[in-house]
Amino acid sequence: MLPDIDRLGPELVLMVSGGLIILADLALREGMPAPRRGALLAYGSLAGIVGSIAWAVSLILRDREGTAFHGSLVVDNFSLFFVFLFLGVAILVILASIDYGQRFGRYQGEYYALILLATSGMMLLAGGRDLIAIFVALELTAISQYVMAALLKDTRSSEAGLKYLLLGAISTAVLLYGMAFLFGLSGTTKLIAPPGEPSIAATVAAADASLRGALVLSMVLVAAGLAFKTAVVPFQMWVPDVYEGSPTPVAAFLSVASKAAGFAVVLRIFYDGLSAPFISSDWSNLFAAVAAISMTVGNVIALTQTNIKRLLGYSSIAQAGNIMVGIAAISAANGNFALGAGGVVFFLGTYAFTNLGAFIAVIAISSRLGSDVIADYAGMGQRSPLLALALALCLISLTGIPPTAGFVAKVYIFNTAVQSDLVWLVIVAVLNSVVAAYYYLRVVGQMYLVPPPQEERVPVSWSLGVSLGAAALGVLIIGLVPTPLISAAERAVNVFS
């Protein structure tokens, strides 16, 4: 039992800190001005995250990789990669929230606690190897996020929260339906188990062609449920509204962490559970089609956006399409499952830095301007050179222009598709990158070409500066020296082979 709890340590630390944050919030409510209280709570959450990181590092140092709770959770390179990714994202988001958090009024404590809870849920997701564990973790994440989206308590934010909740509930039902099929087919909820014990992987591997229809059906349902999390077409409807209405740090968190968590589960279920050769070509085709449609729809609609948060929303749909390219790139033919998965995990790592950087810059700019309209970004290059430079760098990275992380990620993931003989998908993807260049560069142009309406400088607080600097540096460093992150991603997905 104790080793099991030990392996759950990083998540437990976060959950406990979340509880402590709420208690501290209660205790501090009397006699402390809100800004100070908010900052203190933020530091407290950061301390919790640092504790969680320390525990995760100690797991590695003590060589404690392995399964926990009868194989329903696992600590392996894959889950550890995502543990660090989510914790890093949470740090940056919390740093970027310290100023913004004032708008939550008396709910600052709840906000930080929810971030910690959602993060712990995502970490569990990455380590889940049992459908029930995965489902519970997914709900922990999702419910925290529904509340976070509505936390501003104004019309837009409430609408965002409600919309997210309703669509989320439907998608969860679909996912559950698919999971029920898998359970019915295999008699177990375990994705993978030691030889001799029943598991979904074993059932699928032993299944004959007569089960194919049922397997494909359950696969489609599970994929549809998860597509909501990863925000790919046709389950993307919520994205622009929720991004626009919810607090910007929450949108940042959703666009990066929630998406990564969704893809982590997709990889886990489809690689660990459903990777039998006789159906994997089906899901390869399914994902390839979804990828092509997603990037096209996202990019084309993004062209006409005038609000930066909506623009980033559609861009995140398009980027999800790019990631899907990696999911589709299953070179089942030569058995190299790690190929596409490595691309996905690496892309998610670079995307975390890039998109977080863009959102943090938007937080910094919008909170000063009081506007998310792209036209108001005019002259930002003069009003706040470093801020504009960081945002431009992130947008260039999203476009996939060197020397940024996005460039390497784009080349890498398209290369996995070439190696899997998906030439048509690569052509669709590269042509889409042309469309994307137009709207990303238009924002850059707005900041540098259009003269500012007023000369007043746009200052940046230290916490926003630190988080933005970290994200932008990450974008640049990964762009120049990508090999360490690539190796980490490949080690992470090697657990599937």
């Binding site: 190299n336 190929l339 060197p402 390497v408 890498y412 030439v423 690569v426 850059v444 142009g445 070409l449």
Partner: protein, 487 residues
């Protein structure tokens, strides 16, 4: 050595970006010293270059990206052969002059010179990369600096033109990326030296499709009719120095890429489709020349004449002979200097008259004898007058291509006549018509920074025209191994 040349401009750009706000004026001096240092370094490189030896020299190589699972092995691999060293000299030379041409920039000078130096790093990287992915990386570096340079410091519909340039370029490079990845997967390496020695027989898609995916990027850049429509807009609306770089260097990246990637790596496909491509070259020459005739804007006129002259490059390359390809490469060099000079002169005229409308400009020669002289020399060089460099390169192209591709060559030679027509007609109208009283108080080019680029370019045009052997043996050293593979 090569890394120093390629990345020194980038360091310069960083230094300029870090200049304090009240010392903005220093930016141009810093940019001038950096580009001069890079030019000198590349001259030293040129003098150390061993002409007797084919193959790549001054190579530098280390592993940059390694993805063992994905079979993805990308090297930082630089080197030059006779072809790239000539392009390197051209680029570093024109960047020095471009900085002097920009001496009068007073709008946001720090950003201007920083972008220009970043652009130089990208361009030099293209000419020296020997790994496909690295080549592609440098190829894309150019995008953002060019977008900024045209759309901030340009004139007219600058934002439109800048975006058009970016979208055309990025469409080409998107297709090239697909082509490169397919090629690299088929060959199992991205190493361009290895690829150029390998017999690639099949890929995921038919080899001609791979060829044209990659060719598309270069055809847009060169440009090849009908993909040329970005060029007149970008040229016309760009600031003078950027037009010089665009015409002088960026177009050459297209021709260079065709030789280095398309012909070297897929010689058989190049051979199979040479008939079509030379036909396109003839269309380029004649169509470009005819459209040039109709232009009323000086800059647009030169822009269209570039399209026509790039047809010679296309013809020379895909005539696939030793002489023709040497001529094409030399033509890239000479067109870079000649058109550079033409744009410099147009810039000087525009700075004074604030118009480029040929029908309004008239009788300028008495008012500005120095500018008129420079313009006339540039014009004569452009129409291929003997003793000027354009003559040598065009002659080599025609000599090399006339035997195997007679009809396209005849059309291209006819282009020379058209060129003489539009150049002389333009010179006559602008400089030698009846003096227009509106231009009575215009002054000549008097400052050193206006005259220096002019003198430098004229000197290089004459030097190569009179003694082409400074470059030709070097180019041949680079072309010979490529032609040898064509069988």
């Amino acid at each position: 050595m090569l890394s120093f040349i390629v990345f020194l401009p980038l360091l310069g750009a960083l230094a300029i970006a870090l200049l304090p706000r009240d010392e903005e004026g220093r930016a141009r001096e810093l940019a001038a010293s950096v580009t001069l240092a890079v030019f000198l370094a590349s001259l030293i490189l040129f003098s150390l270059f061993d002409r007797s030896e084919g193959g790549f020299q001054f190579t530098e190589q280390f592993r940059w990206i390694r993805a063992s699972e994905a079979g993805f092995d990308i090297h930082y691999f630089l080197g030059v052969d006779g072809l790239s060293v000539v392009m390197l000299i051209l680029a570093t030379f024109l960047f020095v002059l471009a900085v002097f041409v920009s001496w009068g920039i007073d709008v946001r000078p720090k950003e201007y010179f920083a972008w220009m130096l970043i652009l130089e790093t990208g361009v030099l990287g293209v000419f020296t990369s020997l790994d496909l992915v690295l080549f592609f990386l440098f190829w894309e570096v150019e995008l953002v600096p060019m977008y900024m340079l045209i759309s901030i410091w340009g004139t007219g519909r600058k934002v439109y033109s800048a975006m058009k340039f970016v979208l055309y370029t990025i469409s080409g490079s998107a297709l090239m990326l697909a082509g490169i990845l397919i090629l690299g997967f088929a060959a199992g390496t991205f190493n361009m030296v290895a690829l150029a020695q390998m017999e690639i027989t099949e890929a995921l898609i038919p080899l001609p499709a791979v060829f044209f995916l990659i060719f598309a990027a270069f055809a847009i850049k060169l440009p090849v009719f009908p993909l040329h429509t970005w060029l007149p807009d970008a040229h016309t609306d760009a600031p003078t120095a950027v037009s010089v770089i665009l015409a002088g260097i960026l177009l050459k990246m297209g021709g260079y890429g065709m030789i280095r990637l398309c012909v070297s790596i897929l010689p058989d496909v190049a051979h199979d489709y040479a008939v079509w491509l030379t036909a396109f070259a003839a269309v380029n020459v004649v169509y470009g020349a005819i459209v040039t005739m109709r232009q009323t804007d000086l800059k647009r006129l030169i822009a269209y004449s570039s399209i026509s002259h790039m047809g010679y490059v296309l013809l020379g390359i895909f005539a696939l002979g030793q002489v023709s390809m040497t001529g094409a490469t030399l033509q890239m060099f000479t067109h870079g200097t000649i058109t550079g000079l033409l744009f410099v002169m147009v810039g000087l005229v525009y700075d004074r008259a604030h118009t480029r409308d040929i029908s309004v400009l008239s009788g300028l020669a008495p008012r500005m004898p120095v500018i008129a002289t420079g313009f006339v020399i540039a014009g004569l060089a452009s129409l291929g007058l003997p003793t000027m460099s354009g003559f040598v390169s065009e002659l080599l192209v025609f000599l090399g291509s006339v035997k195997s591709y007679t009809i396209p060559t005849l059309f291209a030679v006819a282009g020379i006549l058209l060129t003489a027509g539009y150049i002389l007609w333009m010179l006559e109208r602008v400089f030698f018509g009846p003096p227009n009283p509106r231009w009575a108080d215009l002054t000549d080019a008097t400052t050193w920074w206006e005259r220096l680029p002019m003198v430098g370019l004229v000197a290089s045009i004459l030097a190569i025209g009179i003694y082409p052997a400074t470059l030709v043996p070097v180019i041949e050293a680079g072309i010979t191994p490529i032609v040898a593979r064509l069988g």
